[in-house]
């Protein structure tokens, strides 16, 4: 421990020294007691004031703000052909991106001028994918990639998959073009980081449905809009992770470079960037995953590919076909994930100079390149290598199996699931929602601010005040409270599941290996695919929305908690065991308390992920904000209301994010 390290932390510590001093006063009473007191006061006032000033708004009613949003939207649409901003700015962007996407599409997915097939057929693509995976990763992921892509063909979804791949790659390129420099900048400068963070929050929590329609106004229907919508959603992880990577380069190394007289530029190019490469690649990985999550939504504005297949199949409730396409998305996601992960790991391992294999590497790379080139040539020239052979019989088998399983589950489980739903809805969700929606708005607002302050400190409290104020301003207070109730219940269930499975996974490497692929799949499988069976099992209810949110959010929480439990030092566990703790005691007294940071992070991420499913929930009976957003997307006169609902979701997200993060910081302090 060098003195310098202590010193650099010192100024920050002195900065925060005062707030705890003011917040320490109530400490004499203990925080849980204050929370309980707030809740009791709330309940008492609720009993007295129930049903007054609830700010509820009918489904078709609008506020002035909503009408104003509508007018703005309309005037943009009306002026788009005369406005110079459109003529010289948006149109240019659109042209560039359209050209890029079309280029990639013609390369791998769409017929081009004079050719009934794309430039590179399936064999060429599989060859390139295998070669690149091997070159940047290792032979194992290369094998996986080849198998995965071949499987896409066997599913009978080759062209759709390639369309999705083309769009995803283009969107990722566009996103990274901005994200990486911005991330580096945010990593170097605290000020930039502070400015950028709220925008990133906004980009990640604002439901895509809200900006999908305006995007088509700006960039027209077509690849550009789909690409930009995807890029907006996919860029934030890359920015955040790049900034984090730059920040976590060891201080000594940077100092060493400075002590040798490196300029800022030299320090950046020769030290910071190379040393954060590994983490930055993980950021790219997250961006790819996020881009794939947008596939089905982009299909609503005519983005071709697997998403379109899913959406179309759902019109006739064809679960099998939707599942087959969803599975293709999962396969592609897993391949891309494993390849990028391997590439990131390679940054560290592959240069072991002792391996005799490495001496030949250059030759092997050249040889592999030649093979890939030959395959590309073949697939360019010959039909058998250009169009995937067969009828995609694997696909229809999968579809049929999925349909059978769904039908069986619907027939045999729905009694059970309905009972389960009713217990949870009547026992937990309904009372909670009544409390939130039937209390006067100012009472709920005050309670939220009080809780925020107690749990997160005065700064989080101030954020809560602003968020509550703006929520009232959106005119959707009541809907927001309904959504809040479902969100909270879903988050509680996510955490229960997260702790149970997370601890199990954290304690057993075998369980981890078995569960992880399932979790990955649950995260990337488009929710649209499992909505239909869920609807059959739970009906069009808020509970269905909650279950869908859990499927999407629980994997994140589980993984974070598992990692947290695993990070508990082995010696501590050993020490506990040597004092005679049993397994239950080790979990509850050692492993869980020591992974408190992971638990808070899991709550935070779980909440954000649940919130990002609000709109999907609106499609299956959750009503409230989710429905407002969907309706706003579908009906012109509700557009403004949908936008306001989107803003309300963002506000809920920001509020909870700030409170949980502040609470986590205090817990860690």
């Amino acid at each position: 421990m060098t003195v310098a390290v202590q010193k650099t932390q010192r100024p920050q510590r002195t900065g925060t020294e005062e707030p705890p001093a003011t917040a320490r006063r109530p400490r004499t009473v203990s925080r849980p007691m204050i929370v309980a007191a707030i809740l009791v006061v709330w309940l008492v006032l609720f009993a007295v004031l129930r049903g007054r000033q609830t700010l509820s708004l009918g489904a078709a009613d609008l506020t002035d703000l909503h009408r104003w949003f509508n007018d703005v939207n309309d005037s943009i649409g009306a002026n788009r052909n005369s406005n110079p901003l459109f003529l010289y700015f948006f149109n240019e962007i659109r042209l560039v991106i359209d050209t890029l996407v079309t280029f990639v599409q013609e390369l791998i997915s769409q017929p081009t001028a004079g050719r009934p097939v794309p430039q590179i057929g399936w064999l060429g693509v599989v060859g390139i994918v295998g070669y690149v995976s091997w070159a940047v990763g290792n032979w194992r992921v290369a094998l996986l990639a080849v198998a995965g892509f071949t499987f896409l063909g066997l599913q009978g979804l080759w062209q759709e998959s390639m369309d999705t791949l083309a769009l995803t790659l283009s969107a990722v390129c566009v996103a990274l073009l901005f994200a990486l420099p911005l991330g580096v900048w945010a990593g170097l400068s605290d000020r930039v980081s502070r400015i950028v963070t709220p925008f990133l929050d906004f980009m990640q929590t604002m439901p895509t449905f809200v900006y999908l329609a305006p995007l088509t106004l700006f960039f027209l229907i077509g690849p550009a809009s789909a690409t930009i919508a995807t890029a907006i959603y996919a860029a934030p992880p890359a920015i955040r992770i790049t900034a984090h990577a730059i920040r976590s380069v060891p201080e000594t190394t940077v100092e060493a470079a400075n002590s040798m007289g490196a300029t800022r530029r030299q320090a950046l190019l020769k030290v910071l960037l190379p040393m954060s490469k590994r983490t930055v690649v993980m950021g790219v990985n997250q961006t790819i995953m996020a881009a794939l999550a947008m596939v089905t939504i982009a299909a609503l504005i005519n983005a071709p590919g697997l998403g379109a297949t899913v959406v179309q199949a759902l019109q006739s409730l064809d679960v099998g076909t939707a599942f087959n396409a969803g599975l293709a998305i999962v396969v592609m996601a897993i391949v891309l994930d494993r390849v990028t992960t391997a590439a990131s790991a390679r940054a560290d391992t592959a240069r072991g100079s002792d391996s005799p294999f490495l001496k030949w590497r250059r030759q092997l790379v050249v040889a592999g390149g030649v093979v890939a080139a030959v395959l590309v040539y073949l697939s360019h020239t010959y039909l058998w290598a250009a169009e995937f052979p067969g009828e995609g019989s694997a696909g229809s088998t999968i579809a049929k199996a999925a349909t059978d399983v769904t039908t069986w589950a619907q027939d045999n489980l729905s009694g059970l699931t309905n009972a389960f739903r009713d217990v949870l809805t009547n026992g937990l969700l309904n009372p909670f929602q009544t409390l939130l929606t039937d209390s006067p708005w100012w009472l709920v607002g005050a309670a939220l601010v009080a809780l925020g302050t107690v749990l997160g400190g005065w700064r989080a409290g101030a954020t809560t005040v602003v968020c509550v104020g703006l929520l009232v301003g959106t005119g959707l207070w009541s809907d927001a409270m309904t959504t809040l109730a479902s969100t909270a219940v879903a988050t509680v269930l996510v955490m229960l599941l997260g702790v149970a499975l997370g601890v199990w996974m954290g304690r057993s490497a075998l369980v981890d290996r078995l569960l992880r692929p399932t979790l990955d799949a649950a995260q990337v499988m488009p929710p649209f695919v499992y909505l239909v069976p869920f609807l059959a099992l739970f009906g069009a209810t808020r509970f269905t929305a909650i279950v869908a949110a859990i499927v999407y959010a629980a994997p994140v929480a589980i993984k974070i908690i598992a990692d947290g439990v695993r990070a508990v030092p082995g010696t501590t566990v050993e020490a506990a065991m040597s004092t005679g703790c049993n397994t239950w005691q080790i979990i509850t007294k050692v492993q869980l308390p020591m992974s408190r940071g992971a638990l808070t992070l899991a709550t935070n991420q779980g909440l954000i992920y649940v919130l990002s499913m609000v709109v999907v929930g609106g499609l299956v009976g959750a009503g409230a904000l989710g429905y407002d957003v969907v309706a706003g997307f579908s009906q012109g006169q509700l557009y403004g209301k949908g936008l306001a609902a989107g803003l309300a979701i963002v506000l809920l997200g920001v509020m909870f994010d700030r409170i949980t993060q502040a609470a986590a910081r205090r817990a860690g302090a």
Binding site: T216, L300, L317, V366, A367, Y377, V532, Y639
Partner: protein, 320 residues
Amino acid sequence: MARHWRAGAAGLAVLGLTLTACGGAKVGDDSAAGSGSSGKCGTFNLAINPWVGYEANAAVLAYVAEHDLGCKVEQKDLKEEIAWQGFGTGEVDAVVENWGHDDLKKKYITDQKTALDAGPTGNKGLIGWYVPPWLAKAHPDILDWKNLDKYASKFKTSESGGKGQLLDGDPSFVTNDEALVKNLKLDFKVVYAGSETALIQAYRNAEKNKEWVIGYFYEPQWFMSEVPLKKVSLPEYKTGCDADAEKVACDYPVYELDKIVSAKFAKSGSPAYDLVKNFTWTNEDQNTVAKYIAVDKMAPEAAAKKWVEANRDKVDAWIK
């Protein structure tokens, strides 16, 4: 060692080229056949709104435009709102099943003048409250709105807060149901299922498990051929009775489903425009094609082909 590998690479290359020599049919051998049909029609941008009935219309139109008129049909999967928006930007030529949408008509036909009405499709659109067939059979009097309150408690769910549940659904359609419930003084609460998918699944379960469900639905709809829902009669529609959205107390009007085209497309002289303008068929026709697609799981193009081949006379009337 290095030389070995280089030799290997060269060997592989040679092998590849040998394969080439006996590799089978070449791309482009038959490419001439594919591009033969591009006539004077040019490109026809057809919006595909996300419901099966629409898709049936579009599939048949696209099939005819492609095979009889030699057009290059670009089908674009779009929600209504965005499809209409596309008239202005020139990216959409036609919407071939439109349900009312007076607001959009005002915006794009009257105000922006980027779209034109291209006449009815011949389909009649009904909107209203429907119950599953078993319920209509078991309690025939339920088909009159006046008796609904009698059964309200049967329709109670976890979502309806003690009242009967009226399941509303697709956010794409205007609904007067909240006003209707209020103005008809029914002991019901409107619950938003949020999507057509959710509605259909609810009715499907209801029919299978004999559950009590009443909700907002519409026809023509492919699902009717799977489960023929029964419409509950509401107070009769009279022109203007739905003028004030707050005070509606009557049934939904019967919609004359129509086709909308972009102003540019109408002036282009494309044969596809005439096709769209002349296109008209019956609810039964649409249900047939929709059933091919949704129930028999045929590709839209195959479904269209099957119907066109069976109904050549109708098609010929459109392209005269």
